[in-house]
Amino acid sequence: MIPVGYFFSLSIVLFVLGIIGFFVKRDLITMFMAVEVMLNAANLAFIALAKAAGSPAGQVIVFFVITVAAAEAAVGLAIILLVFRQKKSIKAEDMRLMKG
């Protein structure tokens, strides 16, 4: 019998860790992984609230989030590969075409 609030707090911690990872890491692939961590934190919050509300609808939403995350990963990684082919680098500092 675990309080559902514990799960919710864990999801907040995971989301903040994902944000830290996104800002601290310098390569595109790991920044992308940090985005996945944030998505998973949101999933955990959804499932915790589904349990609190006693309704499986929240779990269906998580199902959709996972599907969209898979599509996002496929397109995002394709873009990262393209960037690597053009610049021979995946460091975020090297993407400064718009900075002039």
Binding site: P3, L17, A69
Partner: protein, 165 residues
């Protein structure tokens, strides 16, 4: 027993994400993340969602992270990523993170206690989820399939090398 399992999985999960943030090697990052997602799958199981737990482990820890590892293999930077010279971005992100954590904590402070506890009637059986997916959520389900086709075609068109004429 349940609460012990929760803290074990939560600490392992946060540890995996911290390992991802601290480690310099991208392949290790991906493996840390697989570990964290597997622990998260266990937490979903604790929250009465066995089907989502299985999907999490098969799709996230399996398919998506394998995709990441393939891309890491293709990109293959031998010299690794040099550490960032500007240290102020690190401090700034730490300040931002603390602010965000406090803000989120304040936002949910009042409702955390009223969420109840796990246990009670089971809600996440695969039967129930399947029935919801094909009745109430039929349109989102179909739109998702269109989205996946679009992502598939988009990824192939993006990465395909142009033929030399």
């Amino acid at each position: 027993m349940g609460i012990f399992l929760f803290f074990l999985l939560a600490i392992l999960c946060v540890g995996g994400v911290l390992g991802m943030i601290l480690s310099k090697n991208q392949a290790h990052n991906a493996l840390f993340l697989v570990f964290a997602f597997a622990c998260l799958g266990g937490l979903f199981g604790l929250l009465d969602a066995p089907f989502i737990a299985a999907v999490q482990i098969i799709i996230y820890a399996g398919a998506i992270m394998v995709l990441f590892i393939f891309v890491i293999m293709m990109v293959n930077l031998e010299q690794g990523i040099s550490p960032e010279k500007k240290k102020w971005t690190l401090g700034l992100s730490a300040v931002l993170a603390v602010f965000l954590l406090v803000e989120l904590g304040l936002a949910v402070r009042g409702m955390l206690g009223s969420l109840g506890r796990t246990g009670g009637p089971s809600i996440g059986s695969p039967t129930e989820l399947g029935r919801l997916l094909f009745t109430d959520y039929l349109y989102p389900f179909e739109i998702t399939s269109v989205l996946i086709i679009a992502a598939l075609v988009g990824a192939i068109v993006l990465v395909k090398k142009k033929e030399k004429e």
